[in-house]
Amino acid sequence: MWFVGKLCFPHKLAAVRHFSEVSKFNRHAKDWWSPTGPVAPLLRFNPARIAVIRAAIEKYSLPQSVGKTKLPLQGISIVDVGCGGGILCEPLGRLGATVLGIDEAEDSIEIARKHAKLDPFLDSYVKYRCCSLSELVSERKQFDCVTCLEVVEHVEKPQQFLNLLEAIVRPQGLLIISTINRTVTSWLTAICLAENVLGWIPRGTHHWNKLVRPEEISFCLSNNNEMKLMSSVGFSFSLFDNSIHLTGNLGVNYLMVWKKVALKS
């Protein structure tokens, strides 16, 4: 279990959220929706991710009451932790979910609010709040579905962070996490190629040794048998036609769907 030590030990002395990481995202806040900016690759991943999330919610968590005339995710409450400019919240809101996006980067939240205002439909479906995850936990808020995409690799204490995420999932609810695996391929593609060679994302966005392996997430979440891994899927990017495909290979970018099966006594 060497990786667990690696996961937990170096960050023991650091604060829960590292200031420089928040300011890094504040700096890029205005580019969240730019189709040519540093976040553009994330925007490209978005439709595939929404498809997976929607399918996961419909398969594992959807209440029986959902009728045919409503929107597909009508009545589902979702919190997106680390929502950035709201690029995940808006499509989920359009599918009918009641979405709360939280982020610690104040500028990102401002951008997210500004962008959501462009679409009058989203008004009643998407809300944003600038706060930390621990604030939601202390308020004892719980949601049908918690999404946390591309965030775990940026936090200082992943284990503590994952346990906080678990706390805001309501019983029978879903926790959806996506991040980048710590493998040789991910170092070659997500860091060398995407940051240094192609320049799609700004240099220094990801630190290889802070990336998280699926086993590590499983270890952190399954210590009290509350969470059950429902499925995991990898994403691959085709350089030929700039398209995103789903794959069984979790080597680079992957997404995990967890379900809170047991009630906490």
Binding site: P47, E90, L118, D119, F121
Partner: protein, 446 residues
């Protein structure tokens, strides 16, 4: 049924007008500007896909189109027709518009003959050669439009989509293009003072699209110095072949229509000849037409009907004429704007491809919106709309170039060129795979 549909028409037209009194601006997911064949079929496609979105259809002649019943158009034979290729027919069948067409006004042709006045060589396409039932259908435009609007009205109650009809033109467009992904919804001020905000605006308002002009999308255009003269004629015999002859002044086509020996003539010719033809007496016109199709051939009553078109006996409707342009927009999409049909591309009518390209655009757009909706995407997002451009622009451009080359190639009168042309046509006539490729291309399969 008739009464019910009248009531619907009334409601559809008068509801928005009544709402004007509030003067409140309205928000729509999709605003379609232009309710011609492409706009109306796009609207029908969106309604059929059951997307729970709000659609606005803006068309200045809406009242006439919605109430365009058979009785009103009278007994007169139609003048303007469209050649529907098999791909478009499939789509119209899927939209359940095809079944609403007056079956009498749908004429299929299984054979096409192209020949040349100078070299005398010809080329014959048979649907049976390539395993198809027909090469195309000649349908009256009015009939097609009536079918589209009937379908729209019938599906109004059973759909999740909400459609509002606006019987008005657009007075002013306000676009807010930006590069940062923060593009405000465009605002359309209608002539009847309504104000529409659209997530995405679809411009289906023809080759003179005001929508395209307002968005400053450059338009490349070339005037052929030609006009197309259209007529509906009666032939002496029944025929089921699309005839096309390339004269020194341009191509002339005889297309079989539904009805007793009725055919449509599209004659592309010089401006001068067009004006002479349009002012000629009916007797002279019949003579001119027969001369154009048959030339010096003396057609006997018992001569081979496969070889030459039947002679024309009577002018039933027309002539009318319109100028021939080739045109293409430099881009089909901007953020929150899409061009479809003739607003994006206009082609020479010599192969009857114009409306087919438009239907293919509309079909592509409906599929795109269906997929986008599945993942909650914003319909106006540039990266989404670019997918439409990537799919449609190369195909449309290829057809545009092919038709233009064909037109140019056949307009050469220089001896050697016309010799090569004749040789090429004779060679092609024996090459079934090559003919199949041409037919597939014209049928919208590629």
């Amino acid at each position: 049924m008739r009464l019910q549909s009248r009531a619907l028409v009334w409601r559809a037209i008068h509801l928005p007008q009544r709402r004007t009194l509030c003067g409140k601006s309205k928000e729509y997911d999709i605003v379609i500007v232009g309710g011609g064949l492409v706009g109306a079929s796009l609207c029908a496609g969106l309604v059929q896909s059951q997307l729970p979105c709000k659609i606005a259809l803006v068309e200045p002649n809406l009242q006439r189109l919605l109430s365009n019943s058979k009785e009103k158009s009278g007994e007169a034979v139609p003048l303007r027709t469209s050649t529907i290729n098999p791909a478009s027919q499939q789509w119209l069948k899927k939209l359940k518009i095809w079944e609403l067409l007056d079956s009498q006004e749908v004429a299929a042709f299984a054979r096409m003959k192209v020949w040349d006045s100078t070299s005398g060589s010809s080329l014959v396409f048979h649907a049976s050669e390539v395993g198809m039932e027909s090469l195309g259908f000649v349908v009256a435009n009015d009939d097609l439009l009536r079918g589209c609007y009937q379908r729209l009205q019938r599906s109004l109650q059973s759909t999740q989509s909400q459609i509002d009809f606006f019987d008005s033109g657009v007075d002013d467009f306000h676009w807010y293009f930006s590069q940062s992904g923060f593009t405000k919804w465009p605002r359309l001020v209608l002539k009847d003072q309504n104000e529409l905000h659209g997530r995405v605006v679809v411009a289906a308002d023809g080759s003179n699209s005001t929508t395209r002009k307002s968005a400053n999308i450059p338009w490349f255009s070339h005037y052929y110095q030609q006009r197309a003269v259209v007529l509906t004629v009666r032939t002496e015999k029944l025929h089921r072949t699309a005839w096309q002859r390339f004269l020194s002044t341009g191509p002339i086509a005889l297309l079989p229509m539904a009805g007793v020996n009725i055919s449509n003539v599209v004659w592309s010719t010089t401006e001068l000849e067009a004006s002479i033809l349009c002012s000629a007496s009916k007797e002279t016109l019949v003579k001119e037409l027969n001369n154009a199709f048959l030339g010096a051939v003396n057609l006997h009553k018992d001569s081979d009907t496969e070889e030459y078109p039947p002679s024309i006996s009577e002018i039933l409707r027309g002539p009318a004429s319109f100028p021939l342009y080739l045109g293409h927009a430099s881009e089909y999409v901007k953020e929150r704007l899409v061009l479809v049909g003739d607003a994006a591309h206009s082609v020479h009518p010599l192969a009857g491809q114009g409306v087919n390209l438009g239907f293919a655009d509309a079909q592509c757009l409906v599929e795109l919106f269906e997929n986008a909706w599945m993942t909650g995407r914003d319909f106006g997002e540039l990266s989404l709309l670019l997918q439409y451009q990537r799919k449609r622009l190369p195909k449309n451009l290829l057809m545009l170039a092919a038709l233009h080359s064909l037109e140019t190639f056949f307009s050469f009168q220089f001896g050697p060129v016309s010799f090569i042309r004749g040789l090429g046509m004779s060679l092609l006539g024996g090459l079934i795979p090559a003919k199949k490729a041409i037919i597939d291309f014209a049928s919208g399969k590629i």
